[in-house]
Symmetry: C2
Subunit: 209 residues, 2 copies
Amino acid sequence: MALLLDQQFAPLPDNNEIATKTFLESVSHLPPFFDCLGSKVFAPIKADINGNITKIKAVYDSDPVKYETLQQILLVEKSIHGSEWPKVGATLALMWLKRGLRFIQVLLQSLADGERDEDNPNLIRINITKAYDQALKRYHGWIVQKVFKAAQFAAPCRSDFLKALSKDQEVAEEECLAKVRQFLINFTANVDAIYEMYSTMNAELDYLV
Amino acid sequence: MALLLDQQFAPLPDNNEIATKTFLESVSHLPPFFDCLGSKVFAPIKADINGNITKIKAVYDSDPVKYETLQQILLVEKSIHGSEWPKVGATLALMWLKRGLRFIQVLLQSLADGERDEDNPNLIRINITKAYDQALKRYHGWIVQKVFKAAQFAAPCRSDFLKALSKDQEVAEEECLAKVRQFLINFTANVDAIYEMYSTMNAELDYLV
Ligand SMILES: CCCCCCCCCCCCC/C=C/[C@@H](O)[C@H](CO[C@@H]1O[C@H](CO)[C@H](O)[C@H](OS(=O)(=O)O)[C@H]1O)NC(=O)CCCCCCCCCCC
Ligand SMILES: CCCCCCCCCCCCC/C=C/[C@@H](O)[C@H](CO[C@@H]1O[C@H](CO)[C@H](O)[C@H](OS(=O)(=O)O)[C@H]1O)NC(=O)CCCCCCCCCCC
């Protein structure tokens, strides 16, 4: 479980304001995860998420004090960009990044909850579909949805996926799932807080790609 | 036709040896072309082709004399990389790049030849399928083939495609096609010569992605 679990997200502070620097450190460990899925089909997804992180990092680095928290990023960019906002800058990058994070969260939660296709117990397609439906589908036009449907056949089987989460160490399935549950505590809290911030600040968009 | 035609490939020299520098200059105008297709679905393809060009350029820049022609790149890399070759370095990058170039060539040739689906005269799917079958399909596993099938629905219609080739200038269709034919002369000769070089040097691979 080295891969995910040694890289726990920080606990959410009482005021729900996420420190940009810590957040960027934590999410930077996620893209390599797509390599573990064992297919080059996921390279464009990895690239998209990497692009989001790079964009947010560039804004942060331009003024680490001004952009100390994710909330400050949205506030400052709103005041800078006028009517272009929120489809601009780190606000847009984080809008999409949070959807990828939600996808990962729902997928892991569904596995941790033991949700399975009884006819294909070693496939994770049912968990992937759930994650996709909740996190991404509504933002994808029919062509990208079709592409996704095709691409999910490249997903690893359940046992290989859990092994990849454990960085190929032999770990008992239950032990791995217990660590997933542990990881999900802070991760889910962070993702929820980001969603809430977008909702509160009226920064959510629902255009299709 | 600014987009393609102002960027003609150089005529093939008598000895068929393509100058790396000129070649890189010419192909560098192709990736922006994918933006004209009007869908973000093509971004991963653009990124893949850009990656090939960057890799070849890096090798060239490391020693412009040693790598003066494409043929020298293959010869030198073969001697440097031993049994890893040809699945390595600029040799691998050019192996894939030439398939993308072949795709573009067959697509344009098919349009120039007036091949059409009589039932859908304003679609270019029949031309895209031909290009895909000839240039790429055999190197794609079934999942990537399925992804391609889905992605091609994002292709522009014939009239928009020709307009994009003309950089949105209003040009009569026949005039545009005449320029495509003009462009194809040197372009096809260059692509053919690269294929021949891979064949002669036993540098072609047929593994699937
Ligand atoms: C030869 C063959 C030809 C085939 C051609 C293939 C074409 C394939 C196309 C597939 C698309 C790849 C995924 C990327 C999709 C992206 O289009 C979307 C929107 O992307 C956002 O767009 C914004 C502008 O609107 C900004 O540019 C954002 O960038 S910005 O930083 O500049 O602001 C950017 O992230 N992101 C998404 O939908 C996010 C996707 C997250 C995925 C999460 C995990 C899923 C795991 C799946 C497991 C089964
Ligand atoms: C949320 C949604 C989830 C969906 C996930 C989406 C997944 C989509 C995956 C689609 C694949 C995108 C296209 C890229 C395919 C690439 O995998 C292949 C091989 O790519 C090569 O691989 C080598 C190693 O084997 C080296 O890395 C090469 O790199 S190296 O430079 O490092 O040596 C690299 O080019 N290139 C290809 O097949 C080439 C493709 C050329 C295409 C030409 C034009 C086609 C136009 C089509 C018009 C209709």
